[in-house]
């Protein structure tokens, strides 16, 4: 399952934010933009709908997905046979695993960051 923060969790979080980019040994680069694309494909069930929602061309969406597929050596998104309106797209297990990994790192890193940021605030206040 894709991990979504509840409204209550988002509410109680501080307004400090970490943005994380993951550069894997394989050459894969995974950041907030690609994760948002995968999540939008999962939500909408279609590459072109994801493109519309994100203001990106179908071609650009596919390039991002294809780049991840190649660099991770796994198929993250499968095109599904469709009716007259063309096919849809679904995330594979590997695709869902990428999202889970990313948000897991994000959640743990935000928790780990809190005491460092608190110490920085003290130093700034003292300075």
């Amino acid at each position: 399952m894709v991990r979504q923060k509840t409204a209550a969790e988002a509410e109680e979080a501080s307004h400090d934010r970490l943005s994380i980019r993951l550069d894997l040994e394989s050459g894969a680069r995974i950041g907030p933009g690609k994760i948002a694309v995968l999540e939008e494909i999962a939500r909408s069930g279609s590459l072109s709908a994801a493109g519309r929602a994100m203001g990106m061309s179908y071609r650009r969406i596919w390039e991002l997905v294809d780049d991840l597929n190649r660099s991770l050596g796994a198929v993250l998104v499968e095109k599904t046979a469709g009716g007259s309106g063309g096919g849809g797209a679904v995330l594979t297990e590997a695709g869902r695993a990428v999202i889970t990994c990313y948000h897991g790192i994000e959640d743990d890193a935000e928790r780990a960051a809190a005491p460092h940021i608190a110490r920085l605030r003290e130093a700034l206040a003292a300075g």
Copy 2:
């Protein structure tokens, strides 16, 4: 003290890398580029030398420092009176605290990321 990884620590680390950008509630945005600028100022003791080392103009270096000073509400870099060649620059306690905070988050986040990345690798191998 500015935390530097020893060669041994760098050696044993995996080649997976996290890049972190910190967006603080105050509006400050702190990422690898600004941290590298602060570190180069600390190393070289001069804004213009830091600019030369990083291929950036003095003006650009100063803009980055000034942006941090304003958004954090603290002076991170102090210009020092110089001789005939013009003055130098040193980091204040607050400037050093920013670097320490950033690398502390980076170190903890990399440690926290490792098991998530291991699980991702398993999922990719199984897919």
